[in-house]
């Protein structure tokens, strides 16, 4: 979003969309790409295509429950996406274990310039994949929202509908497990 235009915030958009549903489309334009990247990083782009579409459909129909005092809808949308990703938990873990075992990331979409990197995945990534696969899903959700999406504890708590204390404890445990495989200096 460009700095020079004054835009209405997400909460206001959602509030207006109650009477003018088309306003809701602006949320898609703001967040679809980043949510896609997040989902694709966990499950591959094909699953991510569906997850993005379903996230916004679900968000649209639940828009009446959104607390419009929150200016940013990002945690809310990531929460919906994460719930949809959870349906693919076994697939996610299978992909991670395969990477851990073979050093080749089986996420099915390889861009030409990433092939080399893919086939020579570093030992560190292999170990990390194994550690991520072994985490309880809720812990993995917290860890990845913080590490990949730069969310604050409060935002993660809102996204996953858990307390900030739970975010802290899950993150602590997830980091501890990752540290065991990666060594202290990494985390």
């Amino acid at each position: 979003m460009s700095a020079e235009t004054v835009e209405i915030d997400d909460g206001e958009l959602i509030r207006r969309s109650a009477h003018d549903p088309e306003q809701f489309a602006a949320l898609f334009d703001r967040y679809a790409k980043q949510i896609h990247l997040y989902a694709a990083r966990r499950l591959g782009t094909q699953a991510a295509d569906d997850i993005v579409a379903e996230t916004f459909l679900a968000a649209f129909r639940r828009r009446g429950t959104y607390d419009t005092s929150f200016a940013l809808a990002r945690p809310w949308l990531y929460g919906i996406a994460t719930t949809l990703i959870a349906r693919h938990r076994r697939q996610e873990e299978r992909l991670l274990r395969a990477l851990s075992r073979t050093g080749v990331d089986p996420l099915p979409e390889a861009l030409a310039d990433t092939v080399t990197r893919r086939v020579t995945a570093q030992g560190r990534d292999r170990e990390l994949a194994g550690a991520l696969a072994a985490l309880p899903r809720g812990h993995r959700d917290v860890l990845l929202l913080v590490a990949w999406e730069d969310m604050s504890y409060e935002e993660v708590a809102r996204a996953l509908d858990i307390s900030v204390g739970t975010v802290r404890s899950r993150l602590h445990r997830a980091r501890k497990k990752a540290r065991n495989v990666l060594g202290d200096e990494e985390l």
Binding site: L37, T45, L128, L187
Partner: protein, 372 residues
């Protein structure tokens, strides 16, 4: 956190423009189709079964028992698709002893009205049936029928051999007005033999066959082929089935049922170009059928539609506005209706239930089960 932050960071491609457009189109469909949102009655059927029965429920203007007749010889799982896990007998119940076997017409009547195959894709190449591209949008249902008929007549696709099969794949969504994707999303693949004698589908990884496809295409192609003639043949088949079965029609085929049957024919059966053209010219002659612009199908595309609204259902058969290629269907139930299935179970479709389909593939293949 660096190791985690970097994990797959540079190997994950961005969302493609196509994927973004498709997702946005689905959202816009939900946004632009407002309506009363009512829950669909929950039931115990496997979801794929529920999807197709829901679509059937949308289209059928008569109770399903009236259409199906009491003794289904066609496995209901054939309609339900590969995901159905419920035993066939649990759906049909035992066949009534002493009744005549199901006729072609009865099997016709039992079919689920879903997609159509107006433009064939042969050998992976889309056959485009574009007519004059700068023409104005169709102004009347008669014009739509005529232009669709001409596109069918000008289809350069070579006539397939009698041993070949039409493969079709469609996306199906069910939900409620304003959220068509709420309840079910499925793809449905089917093969019907060019000679109309057999159809096939995958169930549990295994290719299943059933005896007959919709109507005998050879019968429909017997000259002279006229719109009135093909309508008469289809009506006769429906009435024959009714006569042998429920006897509820009193010699009159309701327009909604006729619309459904024609839709089924052009959806899943290969037809000679003149038969297909005759069906298109026949649609505007059916009482109540009108033209509607800009109707969405299940994958977000929009087109021009033959539409029919009766007391129970509003349904659309949607074509590409430029090429008149078949896109899909869109139906909304307007009145609650409870169907009684052959095993005496009941299912209620609420007013506001919506079913959308989109044809994703239609091509001639050499054997059932092949996709190219």
């Amino acid at each position: 956190m660096n190791a985690i932050k970097e994990f797959r960071r540079n190997t994950t491609p961005a969302m493609t423009v196509e994927a973004a457009d498709a997702a946005r189109a689905r959202l816009m469909t939900a946004i632009r189709e407002p309506g009363a949102v009512q829950p669909v009655t929950a039931n115990q059927e496997p979801w794929a079964a529920r999807l197709v029965t829901a679509i059937h429920g949308l289209w059928a203007t008569q109770p399903v028992t009236a259409i199906h007749g009491p003794e289904a010889t066609q496995p209901v799982t054939a309609i339900h698709g590969p995901e159905a896990t419920q035993p066939v007998t649990a759906i049909h119940g035992p066949r009534t002893v002493g009744k005549p076997t199901a006729t072609r017409a009865r099997r016709l009547g039992r079919r689920v009205a879903v997609a159509a195959a107006l433009a064939l894709v042969v050998g992976g190449t889309v056959v485009t049936l574009r007519d004059q591209p700068d023409m104005a949008p169709v102004a009347s249902v008669a014009e739509l029928g005529e232009r669709a008929a001409r596109a069918a007549e000008n289809d350069p696709t070579p006539t397939p051999g009698p041993g070949q099969w039409l493969y079709t794949k469609e996306l199906q969504l069910t939900g409620v007005e304003g959220d068509v994707d709420r309840d079910r999303r499925d793809t449905w693949e089917r093969w019907t033999s060019v000679d109309g004698k057999r159809s096939a589908w995958y169930q549990g990884g295994k290719l299943m066959f059933q005896g007959s496809a919709i109507m005998n295409p050879t019968e429909l192609a017997k000259p002279p082929v006229t719109s009135a003639g093909v309508i008469a043949k289809i009506e006769a088949a429906i009435l024959d089935e009714d006569h042998r079965g429920p006897q509820e029609l009193n010699g009159q085929v309701p327009p909604g049922m006729l619309f459904m049957e024609i839709n089924q024919l052009i959806t899943e059966q290969w037809l000679a170009p003149d038969v297909r053209a005759a069906l298109f010219r026949a649609l505007p002659t059916i009482k109540g059928i009108t033209v509607t612009q800009d109707v969405p199908v299940a994958d977000g595309r929009r087109g021009v539609a033959f539409s029919l609204t009766d007391a129970e259902v509003r349904s659309y058969l949607i074509l590409d506005p430029e090429t008149f290629r078949y896109l899909g269907t869109n139906s909304t139930r307007l009145k609650d209706r409870t169907y009684k299935w052959a095993d005496d179970s009941k299912e209620t479709f609420k007013a506001g239930t919506v079913g959308l389909t989109a044809q994703l593939e239609a091509k001639i293949v050499n054997q059932a089960g092949q996709r190219s």
